[in-house]
Each structure stands twice: as C-alpha cells, then as structure tokens.
C-alpha cells in the first residue's frame, strides 16, 4: 500500500516535479541548521488543539532543548495528514488518538507509540468530550441516544466506539445509534440547527455549545474507562529502529512536560493562547484533559476490544504490546 503510494508520488514528481523542486524551502526548515553543535531539529506533527498543550509548555520550559532537541511543531489540519507524514519521514513524531493508531497498525502501517499524550479526566460530568443535546431535547441520558442521530468528527473511530459503549452501559441498544460525520467546530451549529439530535464534541466545541444552551448527557471517554488513554505521541518504526537515542530523549522530555502540565494547569491553559485562537470565557471554562506520564494499558485493551466489536480493524487484532511499548 505504502509502496504503491510512493510509486505514484514518484510518478507525479516526474510529471510536474522538476519545476516544483526549484521552489525555495527556506523560511521553514532551512533557517535553523541542525547537526552542527548538538541540537537536533525534531518535527512533530500535531493538531492545534487543547490536548497538545504539554508539548508547547515543555518547549517553553526548555525540557526539550536541554536534551538537545529543537522542537518544531507542524500543525496539520486533522489527523489525516499526521500518520502519513510521520511514516514518510516528513515529521519525526506525531500526535494521534489511540484508536487511529490501532487502526493504522492493523492496516500494516509501521508506527509505534513513544510517550503518553492525553487521557480522560475520569469525571463523568465534566470531561474532555461530551455528547451534547439541545436544551429542550427529550434525550436525558445515554440510552436515549438509541434511534437518534449523533454527530462525530470521524466515523469508525474513537468517537463512535466510546459513544456506543456509553449507550450500552446505560442500558440502551448501541446498534440503533446513527452516526454522521461533522467537524467539531461545526457541531454547535449543526446541533442548534436541528441537523443532528446530539453531537459528540471535544474542546473547545463543547464549552461553546454549552454557553449557547446545549446540555451534556454523557461523557463517553470517562464512561468507557475512568483512566482511558485517549491519545499518544508516536513515531515511525523506522525512526524508532534507526535512532533509538533520539526517541528516548523525546520520550523523556515529553514525560517531563506531561508531569509539569499536570502540576501547572493554569500555565497549560495559558499556553493555549499561543497556538490556538481560543480566548475569553471559553478559555477559562474549557475542560483540560488529564496528562498522566504513563499509558493506562488496561484502558487501551478495553478500547481495542471496543474497536474489534465495532469492526474497526477488519478481521485483525491490534498488537498493543508492540504499539504501546
């Protein structure tokens, strides 16, 4: 699969490429010469959302530079660009939700997790994600979602599997929930406009929706597992093999950043203003995830079995030991 894409890429390059190569790449990567001295430039593919605050905080606190790592965040728009970017070597590390990583692994994409990313708060009333409904909706709890339309940002991923689990736990029939795909930022409007009965929202969408009158009925992450590991930082199997030292240093710096961010939530909240445009009341109200230093393997096993149950991995099974070392 990957080889075929690369082949296609090369074909495209030969058709149009010669001209394209003349383009200057300065201004981005050329500015800081790596290799000289002992600093290595490390590109991390991220989505500019709340969950990656520790990474920015760790950069500010020099947890990375003190280990000879010069961080360069490449904010991709959505996870779609991150996994291929890491596998092709455009990014050294990436940030992704754990279900996506399991799907990638079962599809034979060579990735491996190196450090924890973000976890649920475990609090079923104020969590990092929630299924919200209109103020006057008849839906009172998760089981009422059966037969209703629920928006998720990506179908066949962590959103719908955990929502189904929340419905199941509440005594509803998860197979009756209809899911539609809508971007988080459009969910408050879609909910308000009646296009969907409920929406599974992350931050800051859920805080915005609540400020406009929406009501949260369930917190699927916390319902699934109070310690659910939601996202991790990962790298390609190739880099992990070729440069274990760099991977180790990155993981150490990341762990230090997660610990620092957990201890200083106000600083974490504040650093959001440097890479997102969240401000005002939303910035004050939004729920930060938990940033434990380690994965919770039991929760990942649970997530994997939910994915299997929902057919996310075809007839394969993710190898969690290999993926989350």
């Amino acid at each position: 699969m990957r080889r075929r894409i690369l082949g296609l890429a090369i074909a495209v390059v030969t058709v149009i490429g010669a001209a394209g190569c003349g383009s200057s790449s300065d201004g981005t990567s050329g500015s800081s010469a790596s290799g000289s001295g002992k600093t290595t430039e490390v590109k991390v593919g991220i989505i500019p959302i709340v969950d990656v605050a520790p990474l920015y905080l760790g950069q500010k606190k020099n947890f990375f530079s003190s280990r000879g790592i010069e961080l360069k965040m490449e904010s991709a728009q959505g996870g779609a660009a991150i996994i291929p970017g890491v596998v092709s070597g455009q990014f050294d590390f990436g940030f992704s939700n754990t279900t996506s990583l399991m799907i990638a692994q079962t599809k034979g994409v060579p990735v491996t997790s190196v450090a924890n990313g973000a976890a649920t708060t475990g609090n079923t009333t104020t969590d990092v994600t929630a299924v919200a409904v209109r103020k006057d909706s008849a839906i009172k709890s998760a089981k009422d979602l059966a037969g209703k339309t629920v928006a998720v940002n990506t179908l066949q991923n962590i959103g719908d599997t955990t929502v189904r689990e929340a419905v199941r736990k509440d005594g509803g029939d998860p197979s009756k929930v209809k899911f539609v795909e809508i971007a988080f930022d459009q969910m408050p409007a879609a909910l308000d406009g009646g296009q969907v009965d409920a929406a599974w929202m992350g931050e800051p969408a859920q805080t915005i929706a609540k400020s406009q009158g929406a009501r949260a009925v369930t917190s699927p992450f916390a319902e699934t597992d109070p310690k659910l590991t939601v996202a991790t930082y990962f790298t390609s199997a190739q880099l992990a093999k070729e440069n274990p030292d760099l991977v180790k240093k990155f993981a150490e710096a990341m762990t230090e950043s997660l610990t620092y961010a957990s201890a200083h939530p106000d600083e974490a909240r504040q650093i959001l203003t440097t890479y997102t445009k969240i401000d005002g009341q939303v910035l004050k109200d939004l729920t930060l995830p938990d940033w434990p230093a380690q994965y919770d393997m039991a929760s990942l096993e649970k997530l994997a079995s939910l994915g299997e149950q929902d057919g996310l991995f075809g007839d394969k099974k993710p190898d969690l030991k290999a993926l989350f070392q």
């Binding site: 001209a19 500019p48 455009q90």
Partner: protein, 267 residues
C-alpha cells in the same frame, strides 16, 4: 462585451467595473450586517459585518497575519509562475509538432480532470505540511488551464499566414515568434487569468486541508478555536485577494493585447 455605446475611451471600462465590484461588495456587507442583527441568522455563527470588520482591524495589526498572507501569496504566485511557464512551453512545443499533439491528446484529457485535491495524500507524503505541498496542488491545477488554452491558440493559426511565412523562408523560431505567438497570445492570457483564480482556490484549499502555512491554515486554526468572527475576517481577506488578482489579471491582459481586436473594440 461588444455593445456599441460604451463609455469614453481610456480607462473607462476598468473603473466602472471596479466601481460595480465595490457596489456589489457594499451590498454584501449590508446584508451581512442586517441578517444577524434581525435574528434571521444566529449571530453565534454569523457575526454582524461591523464585528467582522473590527476583528479584521485587529488582524491587520498582527505580524502572524502578514506572515500567513505572505505564505499564501508565495504559494499562489510561485505555483502560478511555474504553471504558466510550463504550460506555455509545453503548449507551444506540443501544439507546433503534430506528432506530439496526437500522441499526448489522450494523456492530457486523462490527467486534466483529476481534481488537484486528490493529490493531497501524495503532497503530504512528499512534503508534509511545507510550502511545497501547496505548490504541488496549485501547479497541478493551474498548469492544465494554461496548457489547454495554449494548445487551442496554436490550433487557431491561420494556415495562409503560416504558408506565407514558409514561403518567406522564416525558420521555426521565426514562425513561432511572428505567426504562432500573436495568434496564441489572447488564448494564453485567458489561460493565465483562469489559472490565477484556480491557483488561489487551490492554495487556500491546501492550507486548509493539509495545514501548510498561509491564510487557509489561519482559517482552520480560528475555526477549531471557535473564533467565529476571525474566520469570517480571514475569509474576507481571501475574497479581497481574489478580487485583486482578477483586477490585475485583466489589466495585464489589456496591456498585452492592446493591439488585439477584442481589446480595441472596448477601448
């Protein structure tokens, strides 16, 4: 276009066109102010124009905004330049060699309709979120606009003129310079104008979807942050940029073709 009673000579048509364009924009602004204020549309999702304007003012004071604008201009301009040069050279070569023309026709017809956005995975694999990703998409989309026009232009050469050039023993280069080029130029200009607009659309799309630097990425970040009026302010900027591109393209076209009947008739 060909109406007989036109405005006084000189810069008349362009000024009127610009004025009309501005009137259209003013109308749009008025509608955008009224709709949210009357509650016809929720101000949560469409803030009144005055608020968007205020955000735009703040935006103009930010250095990140100007960097983003610069990135978009670079992606657009560089991509367009590559596409135009490539398209013109390829078009003239293919168009003036009948064998090549026959050999490439089906390939071009096959490649041309492939939407540039389908190349996004390829762009990400090759360049990640760098400027080159934008360039790949922009060049692919606008190259065909130019190429097809140039090919049409080379088809349009008057056989009598070409034969005459032959009998005056003009060389290949001479015929390209004095016969083919003047015939093809109006087509080239149309191609460039179309390509300029397409290039902007693709530059913004690449930035929005892939996350390569530029206005599109700024829009995406504002969107995920729920900064609604900022999103509209940025969209407004891209719109104005598009208008500016179109005005410049038309001006260039008029300049380059001042001798051509299509322009003389109006002027």
């Amino acid at each position: 276009m060909a109406s007989v009673r036109t405005k006084p000579a000189g810069r008349g048509p362009s000024t009127t066109a610009a004025l009309r364009g501005l009137a259209g924009l003013a109308g749009l602004v008025a509608v955008l102010e009224v709709l949210p204020r009357t509650g016809a549309l929720s101000a949560h999702y469409l803030p009144p124009a005055s608020e968007i304007g205020r955000t735009l003012g703040q935006l103009l004071a930010e250095s990140t905004f100007w960097t983003a604008l610069g990135d978009t201009v670079a992606g657009w301009g560089l991509g367009l330049a590559i596409a135009v040069v490539g398209g013109v050279v390829a078009g003239v070569v293919i168009g003036s060699v009948p064998v090549l023309r026959a050999a490439t026709a089906s390939t071009i017809e096959f490649l041309r309709p492939i939407p540039s956005v389908a190349l996004i995975p390829v762009a990400v694999l090759l360049y990640g979120t760098a400027l080159e990703s934008t360039l790949l998409l922009v060049v692919y989309a606008s190259f065909w606009q130019v190429l097809v026009q140039v090919l049409a232009g080379t088809q349009d050469v008057d056989p009598v003129a070409d034969d005459t050039a032959h009998s005056y023993l003009l060389g290949r280069w001479g015929r390209v310079r004095y016969v083919l080029w003047p015939t093809a130029l109006p087509y080239v200009m149309t191609g460039v104008r179309l390509a300029a607009a397409v290039a902007l659309v693709l530059a913004i799309t690449a930035e929005l979807v892939i996350g390569s630097p530029g206005l599109g990425r700024e829009i995406a970040v504002a969107q995920t942050s729920g900064a609604v009026s900022r999103v509209y302010a940025l969209v407004l900027v891209t719109g104005l940029f598009g208008v500016a591109i179109n005005l410049v393209a038309r001006a260039v076209e008029r300049r380059a073709l001042h001798w051509h009947q299509s322009q003389r008739r109006e002027g």
